[in-house]
Each structure stands twice: as structure tokens, then as C-alpha cells.
Symmetry: C2
């Protein structure tokens, strides 16, 4: 298949920042792209060849869109699965496959999949609604504390809550959910696996999510993770095992916990470019986006090794600020060595909205970490006065 | 000034591959862009915010375009200078300044400038047309062989010819020209200098253009140049000196010869991102395009050091092929370590047309050079059968 400067058309469901970063690589290779997104202000609206506005959860919209393209991928899991299944049945290449997506979209199904394939994961129980969950607590079938997760439509920490007391369940959506055992962990790790239809497979190095000691929020994604080689090897092996079982095409980001006993357990996966791989744009020989593109087009995968150490800091809207965005002190952080801001292009900020990220690269990871902390403490995403 | 996700508008004259690569960085920073180009098929047509079709040499077109934007730059020197001068007089920030461009657009003026500022360069004489040049030869004011260069509108080796015999002048355009002394040189080198309106200045490492031993064509741009440190220091110092004299804003690519006696003489300059800096996208901490953008917006300049060694191979249309382009064996070269093709997006190939380039990066420059040779011998830009 000739993809380069040809009539070939790649369709992407979703026009957010992940799609936007993927478009850097479709542009680099001059591959024609079609984007479907509900928003007129989607970050992907420019830089694609054709932008179509439409509902990603609507069967007919997604189906019709799929009919326009030669290969279909997505940058968000919340898309109409039935349309993808029908398109695949009709012969369209849909990567990742709807079969993979089906196992991932619902966290209950995803957890059952881990159990079924002897993939280490925290113990859990599935519930059809909050009422059944409360009943199980009252009947002592599950014990407090535990982690509540809604099974569908959660993202970026939405739909996840630590339940220490039964009243913590108040105001939660009355939807299908799981109750998961709380695992004390030393580190949250992630490994991105890349796989092509031909079966070529590569893993990125293990990255580490460093948490703020008080706020319990991820502050830095650090590559490589500052962990023992044995633990890193184990994490990479488990990620590969997960990847094989899903038999996915494209990227699979595998989030894991390193327990106090140095066991690795799988938290969850995402079948697409992932926040934990953004460092790769500057730090890796081949970015996660380029490798996703190579994979779904069945091109040879690129080298996943790093040129230098990379650290990523998310840029989220500051509390108390809503409106036209201003990146306070961005010029200051740009004066530091190896600092690159990525601005996703959302015109309006809101508290905690993901507005961009900053990558810090350096031959010396300790120096990168020092600069990353300065970046974190300096740039602020606020609204115009 | 707030450039990021704001109403600020950057205008770019020219919508070719240099502009296209610059747009990766305007997109990364979410800076609004306007592009003026005469072609409906300009590589920049998508990925800019607003594309305007128009003649770059027409005063009114360029002037009107300039009135739409807050800062104006160009990716090609062949633009209407009078319009830029008027726009600058009226207060528009035009970077590089028309004053700089004026000294560069005409190679005769450029050579006089070197002489005036004690910048080492090959001896030359200016002629208003071929007739005057022939007369000078006949009167023995200049001796054969020499290098003929037309002073304006030359590009990519067009408008340059080695004259060994007076009949070599047959069929040359009867335009203003210079006759330049032929300098036997060991290496052709280049240094890209970056300078902001505030006067911050940084140089990229010295790169080396490696020539095909028989065809006398540049085959590889190699960073860092495989030359003695003393020679590299001298080249960087001369490039800085040239930059100071031009007092430019943005990039200045300084092309130089290393003579048999290890002297450095300046060949010519280009006030914009340059073919000799394409390696920087993959190899440098900050690419030449990002640094051009930072410079013209008076943002702090990024680190110009390299993460790894980088080699660039140009992709030009193969002889005997015209029509819809096919990149033969591109999948093969993509399977090799650290190989990234850049496809500019021209749908039609012609013999020697610049269609793209390939970057090879590696921690080991010898290994990079080996892979680069394989790339050169493997990929072919041909037309569809």
C-alpha cells in the first residue's frame, strides 16, 4: 500500500490533543487524514485534510465516517462500538480492533479479562449499580476501604474514588461499577507496547509517575523510571504478556503498580497514545505517535529507545480560573535547557482542564528532574484578567 | 505579548517545505498563522490557520497580506522587498528585516558586504550582463576557470556554473552576474546562527556537506562535521561575526568552505531555516524551525546542542521520472534504526525536484553514516507506472 502523498485516507475518531499530536506525523509522512469530532474548536481542526463535525457515540455518524476512509483509528475510547464492529465486518481495517476496544471500554469486562488470562491485578467485585454495592458492604461481602470505579465513561480520574466510609458513596452516579481492593504501592509505572498487524512488537522503557507527597496527584512522568532493573524487566514482561493477550494493533499503554513487595500488578490499559508517553516526542528515537501510525499502517516499527532522559509535566487549568487562557511565565520556562511546552490549543481554561504539557529532556535525569520541578513551580495556566 | 492560544497572528511569506516544517512548531505552541503562496498545492496549505493564494513578488499582494498579521516572516527570499520595506516603515515587525534581506537577495551586494566588513570570501568581480563579462575575459581582467553566478533569483544550484572555457557561457541568461575565483576546498561547511531582537544569539554546531566523489553533488549533511576542533571553532567564530554584521533577526545559515590550508571563507548566507539544518528536527535539543520561531517572537532561544549525531539525505526526483510520486523502498528504510523520512507533500515528481529528506540519528556517527549510505542507495523517488 502506498500511503505517502497518495489517495490513501486515514480516519481518526476524535480530534483532541492526542489526535493533534498524531497529525504531526501524518503531516511528516504526507498521509491524508479525516477527523471526526463533535467540537468546532477541536485541536485537530487544522492540520487534518478533512474535518467532519459529528457525534462520536452516534452509530450512523461513525459508520458514515468510516465509509470515507481506508483505515480507521481512534484517539479516544468513547466511540460507538457497534459502528466499528459493522465497519470491520464489512472489510474496513479498524485499528485497534473493536474486539480489543470491547474488552477495554468497560472496566468490569477489562478486569474479568485480566482474571481469565492470569494477569496480576487487584482483587475486585463487579456491581450493576450503587444500590447493589451498598448491599454488599452491609452484608460484609466487601470491606472498607476500597476503590470505587464506574465501569464506563470515566476519564482522567473521573469515575474513580477511594471509599473509606459508606457516606463517601453519596452523590456518586448510580451506574455499573466495581469495588477494587486498595493496594499500597511504592510506584505507579507504565509501559507502552506497540504492535503491528504483522505481529512486530516493541515496548517503550518503563516510565514512573511521581506523585505529589500530599496532594496524591501525578506530578511528573519520568523516563526511564528510577527503579531496580529487575523490577523494570518484570514490568516490561507483564506489559508484553498483556499485549499478547489483547492481540491489539497500535499502541497499548499498560498502567501498573509496583507494590511494597516489588510485585507488579496491572491497573488498567488504554489502546492508544497515552499521557505517559508524551515525553517520547522529545526523548525517544521514535515518538509514541509516530509508532502508533507506523503500527496501524503495518509499517516497520521505529526504535523505542530514548536519546536522553525525559520528564513530562501536565499543564492543567489553575483553580479559580475560567475563561480565555493565559500561560503565565511560559517565556521564563522556555529559557531553561531542554524545556518544550506543548499547547493543545483550547482557548478556554477551567480548573483542572488538561491544557497542555511540558517536556524536559536532558542527558542527566537528576538535572532533568530539578528543571521539571522549577517548571512545575513556575508556569501557571490562568485566565485573562 | 501573549502568543499562545491567543489572537496574535504570525504571517509567513511562502508555503513550501520550510514553512511546512515551521508549522509543526506554531502548532505545538498553538500560534495562529497566515500563509501567502502562489500555489494551490503548497505544502503549507493545511496546518496553517489561514491560507491566502497570491504572488509573492507582487507589491500590493504582499503589502495587503502584511496588513493582516502582527509579525511577518518569510521562508523564501524571492519576495517583494518594497512591500516589506513599506510595512516595516508603517510599524510592522518584519523578521528578518528587509534591510537584511536587501543585502542578501542580490549576490553582488552580498559579496560587497563581505568585502566591506572584512569577512573572508572568494575574490570576485561584478558584471551587469554576460556581454560585459565576456569583454572582461577578452581583456584578461579575469582568468579562466572561474565560477559564474547570477546575482538574483538563483536557487538550489540554479544560476551557478563553473566556467572553464568561454563557450561555457553560451546559453546562460543575460543577467547581472558575478565571476568568482575558484577556491579548491577540502570541505563545505555550514553554521546556523540564531538571533532574537533582544540580541540573544546562539549557533548550531558546524555541519559538513559530504560530496559524491564523482558527481560533485552534496550527498549527506553531517552533524557534527568530522573536522578538527580548531577548524570548527574558527567556522563558528566567523559565522558569529557574519551574523553580527548582518544584525539579522531569526536564523542565518552561513555556508563556508574549508580551504586546503584550513582557512574558512564564506560562500553565501540564507536568512531563514536551511536545508543544512533539517537534521536538527531529530538530532538537536531545539530544531532550527523552533528556534527561528522563538527568535522572531523574541522568546528565549532553545538549546542548539545535539542529543545524538544526525545525518540528512535529500530526497530528489529520480531522472527519467515525471508524474505522480512513489517513494520506492520507503518501508525498507523505515525498518532501520533511527531513520525518519520527511515527505514534503508534492504530489508530482520531476527529475531533481526536492521532494523530501531523510534523517538518520544515532549515538554513534560512524553507524549513522553507514545507515545513511544504505538509505541513499535504497530509497528512490519515482513516478507511478
Amino acid at each position: 500500500m502506498n500511503y505517502f502523498s497518495s489517495d490513501f485516507k486515514l480516519g481518526i475518531l476524535g480530534g483532541g490533543q492526542l489526535g493533534k499530536m498524531l497529525l504531526f506525523d501524518t503531516r511528516k509522512f504526507d498521509i491524508q487524514t479525516y477527523i471526526l469530532d463533535p467540537s468546532d474548536e477541536a485541536p485537530c481542526k487544522i492540520a487534518c485534510d478533512t474535518f467532519i463535525k459529528g457525534d462520536l457515540m452516534d452509530f450512523q455518524t461513525v459508520y458514515n465516517f468510516g465509509k470515507l476512509v481506508d483505515v480507521l483509528t481512534f484517539e479516544i475510547e468513547l466511540v460507538n462500538l457497534e459502528a466499528l464492529i459493522k465497519l470491520e465486518e464489512e472489510g474496513l481495517k479498524v485499528y485497534p480492533s473493536p474486539k480489543t476496544l470491547q474488552l477495554i471500554q468497560n472496566k468490569g469486562v477489562q478486569k474479568d479479562f485480566y482474571t481469565q488470562h492470569q494477569i496480576p491485578t487487584a482483587n475486585y467485585k463487579r456491581f450493576k449499580d450503587i444500590k447493589s454495592l451498598i448491599l454488599a458492604i452491609l452484608e460484609s461481602q466487601i470491606t472498607l476501604p476500597f476503590v470505587w470505579k464506574c465501569t464506563e465513561f470515566g476519564y482522567d480520574g473521573n469515575g474513580v474514588k477511594v471509599i473509606r466510609d459508606i457516606t463517601d458513596l453519596d452523590n456518586l452516579a448510580n451506574v455499573e461499577c466495581i469495588a477494587e481492593e486498595m493496594i499500597p504501592f511504592k510506584n505507579e509505572l507504565a509501559v507502552i507496547v506497540c504492535r503491528s498487524p504483522s505481529g512486530e512488537i516493541k515496548t517503550y522503557p518503563v516510565v514512573e509517575m511521581e506523585f505529589h507527597p500530599e496532594a496524591n496527584q501525578v506530578e511528573y512522568v519520568i523516563c526511564p523510571a528510577r527503579i531496580d532493573t529487575k523490577v523494570a524487566d518484570k514490568a516490561r514482561a507483564i506489559a508484553l504478556h498483556v499485549s499478547e493477550k489483547f492481540n491489539h494493533v497500535g499502541l497499548l499503554a499498560v498502567e501498573m503498580f509496583q507494590t511494597e513487595e516489588d510485585e507488579i500488578i496491572v491497573n488498567e490499559v488504554a489502546p492508544r497514545p497515552h499521557n505517559s508517553g508524551h515525553y517520547s516526542i522529545e526523548a525517544s528515537f521514535t515518538s509514541q505517535f509516530e509508532n502508533h501510525l507506523r503500527a496501524i499502517l503495518d509499517l516497520p516499527l521505529g526504535n523505542t529507545d530514548s536519546k536522553v532522559a525525559g520528564i513530562m509535566v501536565n499543564l492543567v487549568g489553575a483553580e479559580g480560573h475560567s475563561g480565555n487562557v493565559v500561560y503565565e511565565n511560559i517565556e521564563k520556562i522556555m529559557s531553561w535547557n531542554g524545556v518544550t511546552p506543548h499547547i493543545y490549543g483550547k482557548k478556554q481554561t477551567r480548573p483542572f482542564r488538561k491544557m497542555g504539557h511540558v517536556t524536559i529532556v536532558n542527558a542527566d535525569i537528576v538535572e532533568a528532574r530539578r528543571i521539571a520541578e522549577d517548571v512545575k513551580n513556575t508556569i501557571r495556566v490562568i485566565s485573562q484578567k
